[in-house]
C-alpha cells in the first residue's frame, strides 16, 4: 500500500512530504527520535435491556499524536484536528522536551508490514445497523427462553474499525486497519423469591458481524450466561485460607496476565521497580510452566499486525520451563536497554503515550489429562471462570476474582461456591504448579487491560493447571 492509496492519503490528502515536515518540526529542538500516530476510529454500539433496544450509539474519534524522545525523556502532544497548522503546533509543543540543535531526519519512508492477521469478509460500515440489532435481539430471546428462573437479560454489541498510520523519523511508515467486535450477555436469575444471581458471558476478537452469525452465536453466549447464573443459585460460601487450586482452561489464564505478565513489562524493569527486575535466567516458576505473549494469532482480540509504534508483533517467550527468558518492550525501553524490539508498544488512542503492554498471554499445554488433575486433588477449589484481576508489580502481590468455582472433595468436583478473591505473589505463585493439562484454550475474547489510565484489548489462555498452594478469600472456615 502506498500513502496516496491509504485511508489517510485518500480521506485527508496527507502526503509523504507532509509527514516529513511534521517530523522535522518535532525534531526542531534536537530530539533523538519522533513519531506520528494518526488514528480514525469509528464505533457503533447497541444494547438491549428488558427486551427494548434502549441504547444505540455511533461515533467517530480522530486525531494525531506527536511524540519526541530525547534520551529517556518523552515529549507528547496531540491534535483532534488534522489541519497542517494544528499538527505543526502539536509537533512544536512535543519538540520542547529536547534542548539542542535541530536534528536532520532521514528522508523517505519504507513500509513496515506486509501481512493481515484479521482479514474481514465485510467491514463494519458495509453491514446494516439492522443486522447488528438482530444479534442483541437474538441474545435477549435466547436468554429468556433458556430457563424460567431468568428474570432480567441484557445484551450489548460493540464493533469498531480503527484506521492507523504511523510515521517515524527513522523512516518507517506503517498502515493498519484494526477491526474489533464484542458481544456480551448478562442475566439475573432467581428461585422463587430467593436472592438473585448474575451470570455473564461474552466474546469476540478482531472480527466483524459475520463471526457472531456463523461461529460464536448470540445463543452460545446467552446459554453460557444463563448457565453461570443458575449454577450460582445453589452456591455455598467460599472457603478461606490456603489450599490447592485447580484452574480450568481458557479465561483463568488471567492468572498469568496478573502474576507474571505486568511484572515483565520492560518499563517497570528498566526502572527496577518490578518484583521480576534483574531476574532473567532465574527460576520463577515450576519447570512445567512455559508462558508466551503472542500478538500474531489470527483474529484474536490482543493481536495486531503492527503495534502502535509501527513495529510488527511477535511471539515472545516470557518463561520457558520455569526460567524467566525476557521482557516485553516498547521502542523507548528497547532503545534505553539496547535490546531488540518485541512489538509490544501499545496505546489507548492518539491522546496517549505508548508503553509496553501485553497482547495475547498464555501458558503452553502440558501432558496431564485434565480429569487426572482433578482426581489427584483430595481437597481444593476448582475455578472455571474469573472476573478481573489486579497486581502490585513492585511487591508482586496479585489478586483475581473467581466468579464460577466449585469445591473439590475426594478428587471430585462437587458444590459450587460464591465469588471470592484469590491472592498470591508473582515470582512465587507459579512455583507451586504441579500439573499442567493437555487442553490449552484461549479465552472467548473479552479482555480489557488497564495500566496507568490506558485501556487496551488483550487475550489470555491457559490449560487446566493445578497449583498446590494459593490463598482463597472466602468467608467459610
Amino acid at each position: 500500500m502506498s500513502l496516496s492509496s491509504s485511508f489517510f492519503g485518500q480521506k485527508f490528502g496527507i502526503t509523504e512530504h507532509d509527514l516529513e515536515s511534521y517530523l522535522s518540526e518535532a525534531l526542531s529542538a534536537g530530539g533523538d527520535y519522533a513519531d506520528l500516530y494518526f488514528e480514525y476510529l469509528a464505533t457503533s454500539s447497541l444494547s438491549i435491556d428488558e427486551s427494548i433496544v434502549k441504547s444505540a450509539v455511533q461515533g467517530v474519534s480522530l486525531g494525531v499524536g506527536v511524540r519526541v524522545l530525547a534520551g529517556d525523556r518523552t515529549g507528547y502532544a496531540y491534535s483532534g484536528d488534522l489541519s497542517p497548522e494544528k499538527i505543526r503546533k502539536a509537533a512544536r509543543v512535543a519538540a520542547c522536551i529536547a534542548n539542542g540543535p535541530a536534528q536532520v531526519e532521514k528522508t523517505g519512508f519504507d513500509e513496515s508490514h506486509k501481512r493481515n492477521l484479521y482479514p474481514l469478509l465485510t467491514a463494519p460500515h458495509e453491514t446494516s445497523l439492522a443486522e447488528r440489532v438482530e444479534l442483541v435481539k437474538r441474545a435477549d430471546r435466547a436468554a429468556r427462553a433458556a430457563d424460567s428462573r431468568v428474570f432480567q437479560a441484557q445484551a450489548s454489541y460493540v464493533d469498531s474499525l480503527r484506521q492507523v498510520l504511523v510515521a517515524t523519523s527513522d523512516g518507517v511508515l506503517s498502515f493498519d486497519r484494526q477491526p474489533l467486535a464484542r458481544l456480551g450477555v448478562s442475566v439475573l436469575a432467581r428461585d422463587g423469591n430467593g436472592i438473585p444471581q448474575r451470570g455473564y458471558s461474552g466474546g469476540g476478537g478482531r472480527v466483524a458481524l459475520d463471526f457472531f452469525q456463523n461461529e460464536k452465536t448470540p445463543e452460545h453466549f446467552a446459554g453460557e450466561a444463563v448457565r453461570q447464573a443458575i449454577v450460582q443459585l445453589d452456591a455455598v460460601p467460599a472457603p478461606a485460607g490456603e489450599m490447592t487450586v485447580v484452574l480450568g482452561p481458557g479465561w483463568p489464564g488471567i492468572l498469568l496476565h496478573e502474576a507474571v505478565g505486568h511484572g515483565l513489562e520492560a518499563d517497570f524493569n528498566r526502572k527496577k521497580v518490578s518484583a521480576f527486575s534483574g531476574r532473567v535466567g532465574e527460576l520463577v516458576a515450576s519447570p512445567l510452566v512455559t508462558v508466551v505473549d503472542d500478538g500474531t494469532i489470527r483474529n484474536r482480540r490482543g493481536s495486531l499486525n503492527v503495534d502502535d509504534e509501527g513495529v510488527p508483533t511477535e511471539r515472545n517467550v516470557l518463561i520457558e520451563n520455569g526460567v524467566l527468558r525476557g521482557y516485553l518492550y516498547d521502542k523507548l525501553s528497547s532503545r534505553l536497554l539496547g535490546s531488540g524490539t518485541t512489538g509490544n508498544g501499545r496505546r489507548e488512542s492518539y491522546q496517549h503515550i505508548p508503553m509496553p503492554r501485553m497482547t495475547n498471554t498464555f501458558m503452553l499445554a502440558g501432558e496431564s489429562d485434565p480429569a487426572d488433575i482433578v482426581r489427584s486433588t483430595p481437597r481444593g477449589l476448582y475455578c472455571a471462570n474469573f472476573g478481573g484481576g489486579q497486581v502490585d508489580i513492585t511487591s508482586g502481590n496479585f489478586v483475581f476474582s473467581a466468579s464460577e468455582s466449585y469445591l473439590i472433595e475426594d478428587g471430585r468436583i462437587t458444590r459450587p461456591v460464591r465469588g471470592a478473591t484469590l491472592t498470591g505473589n508473582g515470582p512465587e505463585a507459579l512455583k507451586y504448579v504441579s500439573m499442567v493439562g493437555n487442553d490449552l484454550q484461549l479465552d472467548e475474547g473479552v479482555g480489557i487491560c488497564g495500566k496507568e489510565g490506558q485501556s487496551v484489548p488483550v487475550g489470555v489462555g491457559i490449560p487446566t493447571v493445578k497449583l498446590d498452594r494459593m490463598t482463597v478469600g472466602g468467608t467459610a472456615g
Binding site: 454500539s45 447497541l46 438491549i48 433496544v53 434502549k54 441504547s55 444505540a56 450509539v57 455511533q58 461515533g59 467517530v60 474519534s61 480522530l62 525523556r73 515529549g75 507528547y76 502532544a77 496531540y78 491534535s79 483532534g80 502539536a90 509543543v93 520542547c96 445497523l129 440489532v133 441484557q154 439475573l188 436472592i195 438473585p196 448474575r198 467460599a238 478461606a240 485460607g241 490456603e242 521497580v273 518484583a275 491522546q351 503515550i353 472476573g387 478481573g388 484481576g389 489486579q390 497486581v391 502490585d392 513492585t394 511487591s395 502481590n397 489478586v399 476474582s401 460464591r418 465469588g419 471470592a420 478473591t421 484469590l422 491472592t423 490463598t471 482463597v472 478469600g473 472466602g474 468467608t475
Partner: protein, 447 residues
C-alpha cells in the same frame, strides 16, 4: 471557550431532520502533565481536544452519536448518525427528557474554575513535581527508587443544551501533585503513593507535605507478612473507606435498583446499616470535584441524604430511572459524550464521627488496619464482598507489623450493619470521601 451556540444549532438541525427532542453536550479540555523521575524530567504532555455528543428522540425511539470533528461537516454527520441509529432502536415508553419544571442551574459561584493554574509556566510546574519527589527522597533513606512525581493540570468547559429550552455551560479547572516512591529494605520492595488535587493552585497541598506522606505510607509497608486466617475487626483508612462509598453508590443508583440488580433494591425506608452510617450526596459544595451547577440532563445539582443513621432514605436517580421507579429525579444524571444518560454522584461522603483515628486504633485488641485494596470481587446483586488487602496488623491498640498478600471478606449487608464507628478525619480528596471506618468483624484470609 467553546461557543455554546454550537449546541443550540446542533439541536435545531436535529429537529429539522425529524427528531422530536434532542440533547447536545459539548466538551473541551486541555491537559498538561509533567513527570519527574529520579530527579530528572521524564515526560511532558500538553494538548487539548474537543468533542460533541448528541442524543435524539424520534417519538419514543432514542439514538445517540458523537464526534471529535466539530466542523460544519462533522456536525452534519453527527446529526445524521443519531437520526439514522434512532430508527433501529425500539420504542421505549419510559424514554424522554426531564420535565421542563425540573430544568435549571445553580447560580451561586461554585468555584470550579480558577485562573491561578494557567498562570503557572511550564518550568514552574516541572519544579513542583521535582520538589515533590525530592521531599519524598528526603523523608526516609529507604526510599531508594521512584516511579516518579508529577504535576498535572486540566482546564476545560462543558456545554449542555436540550430542545426544551435549556442551555447551560460552565468551566472547570484542576491541578494535582502525585508522588509514587519505591522503598527497599533487604529482600523487601514496596511501592505506595500520595497526592493532592484541587480546583485551584492556591488550595493544593505543598510538595513537602505530599512527599513526606508518600514516603511514610511506603516505608511502613516494608517487611510485610501474611497472617493466619481468622475473623477480626477491620479498620479502613480514609482512602480505602472511599471504595466502600463507591460500593454503596453502585447499590443505590437507579439502574441497578429498577433491574433488581442490587441488594438494596426495594429497601427504601428500611434499616440497612448501623446508627453510625449517614451517607450524603451533595453536588453543591463550592470548590469540590463532585460539584456542578446542573447534572448532565440540565437538572440542578442538590444535596440528597442517601442513608440517615442507618435508614435507607433515597436512591440516586436520573430522569429515566426515576420514571421507571415512579419517583422524581435526584439530579444525578451523568453522561459522557457518548451514549445514553447514566447515573453519577456529586460529592458522595460518609458523615464523620467524633473519635480520632488514633483513639479508634487504641480501642482495638487485635485487628487489621487496611491501607490498600486490590481486585474487585464485590457483587452488588448479592452483596458478596472479597478483596485483596494490605495494611498494618493491630495488636493491643498499636500497629504491630505490616501485612500483605491477604484477602478480606464478608457481605456488604453485614459490613454496613457492622460499622462500629466512623472517625473524625473526613477529608475531601476527590468526589468520594470518607473518614476512617471500623467494621466489627470480617474474615481475613492468609495462610
Amino acid at each position: 471557550m467553546i461557543d455554546p451556540d454550537l449546541a443550540t444549532q446542533t439541536i435545531r438541525q436535529a429537529l429539522e431532520r425529524g427528531a422530536t427532542d434532542a440533547e447536545c453536550t459539548l466538551a473541551e479540555g486541555e491537559e498538561f502533565s509533567a513527570v519527574v523521575r529520579m530527579r530528572s524530567l521524564e515526560k511532558l504532555k500538553d494538548a487539548g481536544s474537543r468533542a460533541a455528543g448528541l442524543r435524539v428522540l424520534v417519538g419514543r425511539r432514542a439514538g445517540s452519536s458523537y464526534t471529535s470533528d466539530l466542523s460544519a461537516a462533522g456536525i452534519r454527520m453527527l446529526v445524521d448518525s443519531a437520526i439514522e441509529i434512532a430508527a433501529i432502536s425500539t420504542e421505549d415508553p419510559h424514554a424522554g427528557l426531564p420535565d421542563p419544571s425540573e430544568l435549571g442551574a445553580l447560580t451561586a459561584d461554585l468555584q470550579l474554575y480558577s485562573t491561578d493554574i494557567q498562570n503557572l509556566d511550564t518550568a514552574y510546574r516541572i519544579e513542583q513535581a521535582r520538589a515533590t519527589e525530592e521531599a519524598t527522597f528526603a523523608a526516609d533513606p529507604r526510599i531508594t527508587n521512584s516511579e516518579g512525581s508529577s504535576f498535572d493540570a486540566y482546564s476545560g468547559a462543558r456545554v449542555f443544551a436540550n430542545s426544551r429550552g435549556f442551555l447551560g455551560s460552565y468551566r472547570l479547572s484542576s491541578c494535582s501533585l502525585h508522588s509514587t516512591p519505591v522503598a527497599r529494605e533487604g529482600q523487601f520492595m514496596e511501592r505506595d503513593y500520595w497526592y493532592s488535587s484541587a480546583r485551584s493552585y492556591a488550595k493544593l497541598e505543598s510538595p513537602a507535605a505530599i512527599g513526606r506522606r508518600a514516603a511514610e505510607r511506603t516505608v511502613r509497608r516494608l517487611g510485610a507478612r501474611k497472617v493466619p486466617t481468622q475473623k477480626v475487626p477491620v479498620v479502613f483508612d480514609p482512602q480505602t473507606a472511599r471504595s466502600l462509598l463507591g460500593n454503596i453508590f453502585d447499590a443505590v443508583e437507579g439502574n441497578s435498583i429498577y433491574r433488581s440488580a442490587s441488594f438494596l433494591a426495594g429497601k427504601l425506608g428500611e434499616r440497612i446499616a448501623s446508627e453510625n452510617v449517614t451517607v450524603i450526596d451533595d453536588g453543591t459544595i463550592p470548590g469540590l470535584f463532585g460539584t456542578s451547577p446542573f447534572d448532565d440532563e440540565g437538572v440542578p445539582s442538590r444535596r440528597t441524604v442517601v442513608i440517615d443513621r442507618g435508614i435507607l432514605k433515597s436512591y440516586l436517580l436520573n430522569t429515566y430511572t426515576a420514571v421507571k421507579l415512579g419517583l422524581k429525579t435526584t439530579g444525578n444524571a451523568a453522561r459522557g459524550i457518548t451514549g445514553n444518560t447514566g447515573v453519577g454522584h456529586g460529592n458522595l461522603y460518609l458523615e464523620k464521627g467524633d473519635r480520632s483515628p488514633d483513639e479508634i486504633i487504641r480501642g482495638i485488641q487485635k485487628g487489621l488496619y487496611v491501607t490498600e485494596l486490590i481486585g474487585s470481587s464485590v457483587n452488588i446483586v448479592t452483596g458478596d464482598y472479597s478483596r485483596g488487602a494490605a495494611g498494618l496488623w493491630i495488636e493491643n491498640g498499636e500497629f504491630a507489623y505490616p501485612v500483605s498478600e491477604i484477602t478480606i471478606a464478608s457481605t456488604l449487608q453485614r459490613m454496613l450493619t457492622d460499622v462500629e464507628s466512623a472517625g473524625s478525619d473526613l477529608d475531601f480528596r476527590g468526589s468520594v470521601a470518607s473518614p476512617t471506618v471500623v467494621i466489627r468483624e470480617m474474615t481475613v484470609s492468609g495462610h
